[in-house]
């Protein structure tokens, strides 16, 4: 038997081959779909993705030293940075010339602020020399080194010049080193002194407290999801409202509620004193520490654990457990060997979601955490508003963002973002 050979291709009504016609229709459909998506995608890319990228770029960008002190940097190249001597006179002359230009635009204060992250106290030096340098005549007033020394003898400190040289490149890894509590001295990476080493500890604390919160939400969420999944739909829907209400309630309302409940003169301490469990002078410290953050965040993130667990458990057929029991399994064995493994995808989905949301939390640690309960986000906010160290904001943000995006990718692989359910 031979295959029927079709020499004539199938044709659509207008005479074009069917294949071509189909491809054209599909292409048109794709174009239409993309056109519908385009406005929003453009909006998000421009208004969200690009700004974040731009901010992260600040973590490597380092134009200010080279732009403000171009001739000084050039002169410094000839200086032996490993020596313990101040740079030669030509460097000071170049610096005086650069500063005279910089003073007009106040660029020297910006430079001072930038270098201050690496060499503390340098802001004052630059501000002071800025006032002096205006009166100098570059052609006749040399040599300049003694004049700088008159202003402040720290100008002769080789460490200061090494700091200037180390940050003279247009791009720097300095912020990332600072973000992991390291610093570069003469091209060698060293740890920062203990009193300046906060970030690794904060990253660590953020991670393990998020794990703890994840665990607490799982512990409290699993029984609730199980109950909801085994109840009749009508009753489950009613109880689900109790889960959704906290979800819909303002985060600040919930945080202020915990602040009111947990404080020393708050409802919980009052209650414990009233029933005689605590003496009036032995009130518990429940807030402004790690405990407060864990309690409040477990409460706030609990719905994000319950909802994915519930949607997975709803699909587990009750007949499996019944079959296990009829084969002689005890209640515990039937649950642990048959039901629990089927609920693991829900645990994964809920745990990753809670962890992703927890590591980025800012408001709750800020309000109920105190100094011992603050997260890395609080440090980023401090670097932004308090210290104005925007490069470090970018570097810390980039590390946090990479961690979150990896988890997001894992979440997408395991659960699929399309399957996120909101009630």
């Amino acid at each position: 038997m031979s295959e029927p050979t079709t020499t004539a291709t199938m044709q659509a009504a207008d005479g074009t081959p069917l294949k071509v016609s189909l491809a054209r229709a599909l292409r048109r459909q794709k174009m239409r779909a993309l056109l519908l998506i385009a406005p929003l995608l453009g909006f998000i890319l421009l208004g969200f993705v690009f700004p974040i990228g731009q901010m992260l770029f600040r973590s490597v960008e380092n134009d200010v030293v080279r732009d403000t002190l171009p001739t000084t940097i050039e002169a410094l190249e000839n200086w032996d940075s490993t020596s313990n001597e101040a740079p030669p006179e030509e460097v000071f002359a170049a610096l005086a010339a650069d500063l005279q230009v910089a003073v007009d635009t106040k660029a020297h204060t910006v430079l001072g602020r930038r270098l201050n992250f690496e060499y503390s106290g340098i802001t004052t030096l630059f501000r002071k020399i800025g006032r002096d340098v205006e009166d100098w005549d570059l052609a006749t007033d040399g040599p300049f080194a003694p004049r700088f020394e008159d202003s402040d003898d720290e100008w002769l400190d080789p460490d200061l010049w090494r700091a200037v040289l180390a940050y003279s490149d247009r791009y720097t890894s300095g912020y990332y080193l600072a973000a992991i509590d390291k610093t570069m001295v003469n091209g060698v990476i060293e740890s920062r002194p203990a009193d300046q080493s906060l970030h690794l500890m904060l990253f660590g604390r953020t991670a393990w407290m998020s794990v703890l919160i994840c665990f607490c939400t799982l512990l409290l969420g699993y029984p609730i999801a199980f109950l909801l999944a085994t109840l009749k739909a009508r009753h489950a829907n009613l109880l689900l409202i109790l889960v959704l209400l906290p979800f819909w309630t303002s985060l600040l309302v919930r945080t202020s509620a915990w602040k009111v409940l947990l404080q020393e003169q708050g409802v919980i301490n009052d209650l414990l004193v009233a029933i005689g469990l605590l003496a009036d002078d032995g009130r518990l410290q429940l807030i402004n520490n790690k405990l407060g953050v864990i309690i409040a965040m477990t409460h706030i993130l609990l719905p994000f654990m319950i909802l994915p667990l519930y949607s997975v458990m709803k699909t587990i057929p009750p007949s499996y457990v019944r079959a296990a029991k009829s084969l002689g399994a005890t209640d515990w064995t039937a649950f642990w060997r048959v039901y629990f493994p089927q609920s693991v995808p829900g645990i994964g989905a809920g745990a990753i979601l809670v962890f992703i949301l927890a590591v980025g939390y800012y408001i709750t640690p800020e309000l109920v955490g105190g100094p011992s309960g603050s997260f890395i986000s609080n440090r980023i906010a401090y670097q932004w508003s308090g210290a104005g160290n925007w490069g470090l904001v970018g570097a810390l943000g980039a590390i946090l963002l990479v961690a979150v995006l990896i988890l997001y990718w894992v979440y997408d692989k395991i659960v699929g973002i399309d399957n996120v359910k909101l009630g």
Partner: protein, 283 residues
């Protein structure tokens, strides 16, 4: 989960202790929110129950914190600002989000996964990073500290919720309905408004309510992107909680809880309506 009549004593004990545990967890979920409401009616400036309140005496309660909330410019101006920003942010995110969700639910969308991941990302990226990024960008283009700057920033944060709810509604959408409409001579625009829109409307409204509550509740981004002129209610609560905690905050919280309950009920009713429309309801 009723207990069978042949259950052993051990099973009975376990069953009732399980229900008790669940009851306690529900209590943990709801109590902190509910406890705020009676405390807001406290006649004293305390954050705990006074003996008068516990004895249910009328003079232990008063409306003075609510009075302060609605008459003190420190509180009603932020409320007004929130009510001005949230609806506009909702309109932006719902209109763009619904169009994109319809696009995404077509059968042949190239790079669907990547696009979806980008559109959902504002929900995932830590707020402090979004806020700092938007601050620099919006200062650069001159929108920092303006009404529209805050509206656009909040619209971006609301979009993932619109995308999630609307695509969920579209999953159950019967495409033959739009084909039938096209067959009978309706153009794409007419089909959209007459056939598709009424059916996905519950999902769109829920998405809109999510976007609204996101903006209405947002504090980090508005602090970075906004200025004092756009101070919203959550912002005022945040400063109140951080600096000097005044009991008016409890009145504000009570108002917000009431709004959330109303929104939640609306969304629940819409969800049921949508399931009924699509014949997916279980009763």
């Amino acid at each position: 989960m009723a207990l069978p009549s042949y259950a052993s004593a051990g099973q009975k004990i376990w069953h009732y202790s399980f229900l008790t545990i669940c009851g306690l967890i529900f209590f943990f979920l709801i109590f902190p929110i509910m406890v705020i409401i009676p405390l807001a009616f406290n006649a004293q400036d305390f954050f705990t129950f006074t003996p008068e309140m516990l004895r249910l005496q009328a003079d232990g309660y008063s409306l003075k914190h609510f009075n302060d909330f609605f008459n003190n410019p420190d509180w009603y101006r932020p409320l007004y600002n929130s009510l001005k920003i949230a609806p506009m942010a909702t309109i932006v995110s719902v209109s763009l989000g619904t169009l994109a969700a319809i696009g995404l639910s077509q059968s042949h969308v190239p790079y669907r996964r990547v696009i979806m991941a980008i559109l959902i990302s504002p929900m995932i990226v830590p707020l402090i990073i979004s806020a700092a990024g938007m601050y620099f960008f919006y200062s650069w283009i001159g929108l920092q500290g303006t009404y529209w700057g805050v509206v656009l920033a909040h619209a971006i944060l609301g979009i993932p919720f619109v995308i999630i709810t609307v695509t969920a509604t579209l999953v159950g959408f019967d495409k033959s309905l739009t084909r039938a409409a096209a067959n009978m001579g309706a153009g794409p625009v007419r089909t959209f408004f007459k056939v598709q829109m009424p059916l996905i409307l519950p999902g769109v409204i829920s998405g809109g309510l999510f976007a609204f509550i996101t903006s209405f509740d947002e504090v980090v981004v508005v602090i970075f992107v906004g200025s004092v002129g756009q101070k919203t209610l959550p912002w005022q609560m945040f400063t109140g909680l951080r600096e000097q905690i005044s009991p008016t905050i409890l009145a504000a919280a009570t108002v917000l809880v009431t709004i959330s309950i109303l929104l939640l009920i609306t969304v629940e009713l819409l969800r049921r309506r949508s399931e009924r429309l699509r014949g997916m309801s279980q009763g």
